[in-house]
């Protein structure tokens, strides 16, 4: 499918030689039938995950959370508290795993880096004029490298949706390539903002565009646009990473973000991962949840499983 001519991802693809070439390639991907895709996710959502399977899924989901605060009102105090929560989500239970990462605005990276030191928890920073992406390229590049310099080891960038929808694929591609370079060793998550791409065909094309440009992760949403993550959109992205690794041997992670609030929702995602891409992605290195309120529901359900009775919100910290 791809004209692969070298092992490096940056300049590897003839398909990225021009807008026209990218257009030919991306529009040559198999189409997505909306109704069929939505039915598939609806069918997977009927899986009944009980007892031991549920316990496994809850702990896995906790380990996959990118615990996020992206508010204008964020302060060092708020971020420090969040980091503490990420380290020990349930202070009463030492068997409770910590989250995958803390996700903050670039200005909060130094605070978070200090708070997470030695925890093994990743530090993700949104960058590139998040969430709109509407800034000059130089600003986006500086935004990125500043976050990396301050200690972020994961960068969540947004793509230029306007350029994508206008068919200026090369512009989108080159921007991702440049940001990837600015990330140096930090992992790059590319946010497609699927709510603005609207069609599943676009989601599939944007996924491939981000992957061939070097994304380590593809992520659904900023959380600032409705709809954010949905099961069908995530299904399309999972299919994309599955097909991409088969084609190129390079594995890419997936991160649904925004709107995932309950354990029930999270388990539906995990079932979908399990039955679409399999065991290989059931790991925080390859699948993340961008979420904030989800964590407490996971903790309540975890406690319910352990104690046998329903838990109440007062017993879990609000950070």
């Amino acid at each position: 499918m791809l004209a692969l001519n070298s092992r490096t991802t940056k300049t590897a693809f003839d398909v990225a030689s021009s807008d026209a070439a990218l257009h030919r390639f991306l529009h040559g991907l198999p189409g997505v039938d909306k109704v069929g895709a939505e039915q598939r996710t609806a069918a997977l959502s009927t899986r009944s995950i009980k007892t031991t399977a549920k316990a496994y899924a809850i702990d896995l989901a906790i380990r996959m959370v990118d615990l996020t605060t992206l508010e204008g009102a964020d302060t060092p105090g708020k971020v420090k508290a969040l980091c503490a929560k990420g380290r020990h989500p349930d202070p009463a239970d030492p068997t409770c795993p910590s989250v995958a990462a803390i996700c903050v605005y670039p200005s909060m990276v130094p605070t978070a880096a200090a708070a997470l030191k030695g925890s093994g928890i990743h530090l993700a920073s949104v960058a590139t004029a998040f969430p709109s992406g509407q800034a000059p390229m130089a600003v986006k590049l500086y935004d990125t490298s500043a976050a990396v310099d301050a200690g972020a080891d994961e960068i969540d960038m947004v793509i230029n949706r306007g350029a994508f929808l206008a068919g200026r694929y090369l512009e989108v591609y080159e921007e991702i390539v440049a940001i990837k370079e600015a990330c140096r060793s930090a992992h790059l998550k590319v946010i497609l903002e699927t709510g603005e791409l609207v069609t599943y065909d676009n989601v599939r094309r944007a996924s491939w565009l981000a992957m061939i440009a070097g994304a380590d992760f593809i992520k659904t949403s900023t959380g600032k646009v409705t709809p954010a993550a949905t099961l069908p959109v995530t299904l399309i992205m999972l299919e994309a990473v599955r097909d991409y690794v088969a084609e190129t041997s390079r594995k890419v992670g997936v991160k649904p973000a925004g709107g995932i609030r309950t354990t029930k929702d999270a388990i539906k995602y995990l079932v979908m991962v399990n039955e679409t891409v399999g065991e290989g992605w059931l790991d925080p290195d390859w699948f993340r949840f961008g979420a904030s309120t989800l964590l407490n529901d996971l903790l309540m359900q975890r406690t319910k499983l352990a104690t046998g009775h329903y838990a109440g919100p007062d017993y879990f910290t609000l950070d």
Partner: protein, 265 residues
């Protein structure tokens, strides 16, 4: 003294198969009103089914408008040759052809449907012709036209068996001058008891109209035989041919095809 009396040129009544007028391969004839007419055989039936099958795709695929035009043309031809047909039946027969001609592009609207299914699907049902239909025609001319026209107007092709050879073959001449593609109508004159069983048991015949079978016993055997390939059946009956025929003779040889497609962006 030289006679002024002119010796008439007589017509030879042969079969009508694939648009041509062949003799029976068996070489046999029988006499009707002083004419020797071809006596169809089992092999003529076989040839007629082959011709009908060969004509089916194109006739079924023709536009409904085109089929209607051709039936209307047949009505014109019949009108112009009305003197050659039974005087008491020919007017009704012309009108019947006109009536069915008009149905060609309406039956799908009346007998089809858009189906409001409970889901994001486009869903539509439309009638399609059954295929090759064998017809045992009633002996009256109006009856003959009244069983033939509804079978073909919807796109079926047919093999008609009748002992009333003179009217049938004269009508074949009407059809042959109406732009009806060869093979759409094939007419076998002769013995129903001899030929019909071969059509009833034929694996490449999809429908069987027993309307004109006189003998109840024979009708029963033919229907039983037709069960072998689950042919669509019209049972024997003797309707009053001047009555409003309704759409039942058309729908008996129509299949309903339902097509689903998802709706999504």
């Amino acid at each position: 003294m030289p006679s002024k009396a002119r010796v008439a040129v007589r017509k030879t009544y042969k079969l009508f198969i694939g648009g041509a007028f062949p003799r029976s391969e068996s070489g046999r004839t029988f006499e009707v009103d002083g004419n020797n007419v071809a006596l169809a055989s089992r092999k003529d039936a076989r040839d007629a089914v082959l011709a009908a099958r060969a004509a089916f795709g194109k006739w079924a695929g023709a536009t409904a408008y085109n089929r209607g035009q051709i039936l209307y043309r047949a009505a014109e031809m019949l009108e112009s040759r009305r003197g050659e047909f039974p005087a008491e039946e020919v007017d009704d027969a012309v009108d019947r052809l006109v009536w069915y001609a008009g149905w060609s592009d309406k039956i799908a609207q009346v007998y089809g449907s858009a189906n409001p299914v409970a889901g994001p699907y486009f869903n539509i049902s439309s009638p399609e012709p059954t295929g090759v239909v064998a017809i045992i025609a009633p002996s009256s001319f109006l009856g003959f036209v009244s069983v033939l026209a509804p079978a073909i107007v919807t796109g079926n092709t047919c093999v008609v068996v009748t002992p009333a050879a003179v009217d049938a073959i004269t009508f074949a001449e009407v059809l042959a001058t109406s732009d009806l593609p060869g093979g759409v109508v094939n007419i076998l004159t002769g013995s129903v008891a001899e030929v019909a069983p071969w059509l009833a048991s034929h694996d490449d015949v999809n429908g069987l109209d027993l309307t004109g079978v006189d003998n109840a016993e024979l009708a029963l055997t033919l229907e039983q035989s037709a069960a072998g390939t689950l042919k669509r059946i019209i049972r024997r009956s003797s309707p009053k041919w001047t009555d409003d025929p309704g759409i039942g003779r058309m729908t008996a040889f129509l299949e309903t095809k339902t097509v689903w497609h998802p709706k999504g962006v």
